[in-house]
Amino acid sequence: DVKVTQSSRYLVKRTGEKVFLECVQDMDHENMFWYRQDPGLGLRLIYFSYDVKMKEKGDIPEGYSVSREKKERFSLILESASTNQTSMYLCASSSVKGGYKEQYFGPGTRLTVT
């Protein structure tokens, strides 16, 4: 089974702090994604990556950056956390092989910025 893990389930940070959210997948998937989920807004794509060292902006990249130095790891960085970044963050991965685009999700990180 595909396993996607995220470094923390819950995280509390202060405004202005630099925050790192880590995601690791163990199925050699090419694609990795970061979403945030907010009530009434559903899942919104922040950034995604199709290969090592490659990144593409999603729908709401402002205030975020990402890093993919290894195939299995995709990091989301909040350079200077703000209260409006309080949210549930979900990482996902998928394989382009076979033409399937189903995504496998991690358990999520609930980030609170105070």
Binding site: G40, G42, M88, K101, Q103, F105
Partner: protein, 112 residues
Amino acid sequence: SQQGEEDPQALSIQEGENATMNCSYKTSINNLQWYRQNSGRGLVHLILIRSNEREKHSGRLRVTLDTSKKSSSLLITASRAADTASYFCATFIIQGAQKLVFGQGTRLTINP
């Protein structure tokens, strides 16, 4: 309105009844997927239906796709308490940047 809108937003039924959720979308798609999310957890992929398919089954799940109406439905038969969750449709769009776009979800509650 957004690509991938679910209807209803919330549904509450008795255990054993069937639950039907609908999804509408706007642009051309490669496939449509349904996901389940238990409270406070990540999403779990349930079923994928390609744009050239009309119906697909997986256990107690039945998904239909009508590309002429740009709509899909998810039917869960003989519901169980464990089916209580949020259900999301996601469309893999093929215009512009190819990506999966999620709707806002239907909150399903199964009452014992």
